[in-house]
Symmetry: C2
Subunit: 409 residues, 2 copies
């Protein structure tokens, strides 16, 4: 008898009809003889509507009160799902974050889970009751309601699974697994049977929206197996687990991409030790997150300096970069917010040489210019003109033979 934690996202419980479908699916887990704990997000766009309501009251709502307001979104969905389960004869009980005692820090809107008390949940499970737990929310040491940030219900599910020593944490969503790349862009994209935590971390960090980054980090830390499944459909989904040493690791598992990019290039700056600091300090001091950074020396003793920021920060970052560059007389500052980042990820890169070479050859033969490169042990990211992104993903997907019917790479 396994213990499964299932997490259903907002679109999976977006209507009364869908809530009944979720209840039927939870009931099937019990019929198989397994025990199940369910974590649920707010229905559909409920959270967005609550944020809009608060903003219509005042532009900068008190963070403590905003959390108390947002937490009602999941409270509605857990109550409705528990009702739907009870109505079909499955004993169920809803629990808010405060009722479980999902203890978090007091950083409203971005609290971190510190501990999950299991007493209430274990008592319910032992009594044959399905606990239906509100995702995204917790309670701080003073008893204030907190939320753990957007996408936080994935993290709630993982934290529950870790605390309860569950056998598997299933993330049920509107796709039936993790794909080699976004199947809306590449028709030949293939569902992956299995993926390592490290690969999933890189994919989530580089633009894949299937799983919340913090949830994967949490699962990786505790070695908890995650499974991404379609909430309204069958199929085995994608298992995310420790690397399996008995299976040869794929060179490239998947391709993630992110259009939310902007690039700033400062050319002709002195190639001196403090140049990077002088140029970046005003930007990071303004709280703007900097992603890729490249400093390329020229033969004349100057250097070209480039970095990327979120597209929404572009105008401000450009202005700040101009201010920083004023210290370097020869500098010229340019930029563009029509760039995108493509990343290839695979644990096989560790042992396989030539992956970068094959990527660059593929892009070059397609006439696509690489504007910036950054790498990790199992990832290569390239910055491209946004207009060329789709073609780049297609060519790369083909070059690494990611299409096809076979389950495992």
């Amino acid at each position: 008898m396994a213990l499964i934690v299932q997490k259903y996202g907002g679109t999976s419980v977006g209507s009364i009809e869908l809530i009944h479908k979720v209840a039927a699916r939870v009931a099937r887990v019990r019929e198989r003889g397994d025990r199940v704990v369910v974590a649920v997000s707010a229905m559909g766009d409920a959270t967005d509507r609550l944020v809009d309501l608060a903003r219509s009251l005042c532009p900068a709502p008190d963070p403590r009160e905003l959390d108390a307001l947002l937490a009602t979104g999941e409270q509605v969905s857990i109550a409705l799902l528990a009702m739907a389960l009870t109505a079909r004869g499955v004993p169920a009980r809803s629990f808010t974050g405060a009722q479980v005692r999902i203890r978090t820090t007091s950083a409203h809107g971005r609290a971190r889970i510190e501990a999950v008390e299991t007493a209430m949940l274990t008592a319910a499970l032992d009594a044959g009751i399905v606990p239906v737990v509100a995702g995204f929310q917790g309670v701080d040491a003073e008893g204030a309601i907190t939320t753990i940030g957007r996408g936080g219900s994935d993290t709630t599910a993982v934290a529950l699974a870790v605390a309860l020593r569950a056998d598997e944490c299933q993330i049920l969503t509107d796709v039936d697994g993790v794909y080699t790349t976004d199947p809306r862009m590449v028709r030949g994209a293939r569902r992956l049977e299995r993926l390592s935590f490290e690969e999933m971390l890189e994919l989530a960090g580089q633009g894949s929206r299937v799983l919340h980054l913090r949830a994967v980090e949490f699962a990786a830390k505790y070695g908890l197996a995650l499974r991404v499944l379609a909430s309204h459909g069958d199929g085995p989904g994608t298992l995310i687990d420790r690397e399996d040493p008995t299976v040869e690791a794929p060179v490239v598992s998947g391709i993630a991409f992110n259009r939310d990019e902007a690039q700033i290039v400062i050319s002709g700056v002195p190639n001196a030790p403090d140049t990077a600091h002088r140029l970046l300090w005003p930007v990071s001091d303004a709280g703007i997150e900097i992603d890729m950074i490249v400093l390329a020396p020229n033969e004349d003793g100057t250097a070209d300096f480039a970095f990327t920021v979120h597209r929404g920060d572009y105008v401000q970052a450009l202005e700040l970069a101009r201010r920083g560059a004023a210290y370097c007389p020869a500098a010229r500052v340019d930029g563009t917010d029509r760039v995108a980042k493509m990343s290839i990820v695979g644990v096989g890169m560790r042992s396989h040489a030539g992956v970068a070479a094959r990527l660059f050859a593929t892009l070059a033969s397609a006439g696509i210019t690489v504007r910036l490169v950054s790498t990790s042990e199992i990832r290569i990211s390239v910055l491209l003109a946004e207009a060329e992104l789709e073609r780049a993903v297609h060519e790369t997907h083909d070059a690494f033979s990611l299409s096809g019917q076979s389950g495992f790479i």
Copy 2:
């Protein structure tokens, strides 16, 4: 420095604009130098919409989960009001029933308040923070969210005021006080400056909707002064307090009425000791509440028996009465659901004779037939044809000189 508990009903916080107005009003109490605790209902028709949502999921929602769902209504309004207060520079903090620890029985949907913990509220007040508390809800010994029934926010406010030993509990609503009768029916109806608990209990029990009956009972039990005020307007409202022995009590303070009535008459039954029991038992056994009861003996040894029920129970009660009357061969069962009840209430009735005589004379001279009568020490209720109710209220209001400009009767 007084401690005031203010309760704002759903219509008072029915929109973002109204929530700002309530915040301004709460701020004024603080500016006067008083301390204030606020209890709030769900916005507008939020509770009805949540009930509809649950019913669209299943016809008979699990009571525990229905309470968890309904409690989100007040959680939204307390968070928004606390935001509005904070935004105007008044430190405020929202508290759900569970956060305060308003301990109730586990009877979901109609729980009774057993205890109110004051530690969180007192700590907030001592820190200069306005506690904004969710009305209508509490938490049981197992930590489950409970609700205390419709109109329960009045009761929450009174319970908070009693627990905190507040100087006054103000019920802010869409009328500016308690009137001699419903001013929508009688233009000359006059706001009462003051009313005793007993009078308010009788008025609330007989159809006045200004205050929730249980809240008045609670306040009366602990001698807590209540004040009914307009939430969006000025004026002293109506004070409901212990009888003031230094002021002569009014003979009649007010007139309440209730259209939700139906009458069943069983005539020609044996005038035997067990007749009433035989006739009423099937009705009360079906859970139907019986209000007025009269057994009038005839000269031929038979008796006429009459009682009233809620109009919604009329058809079922008539059928059950016919079944009960089948044991009495001569009986004839009639009924009507086109009746209404008018009640006059006043503590002066205790010491003034002739009130009933004046009432009957008034109605008789207006050609209005009284179909049933019931009384308490400070109340006389009469059942009338519904079509004659409005005229009866007008004539009685005049006969007891309830109109006029003077504040105190």
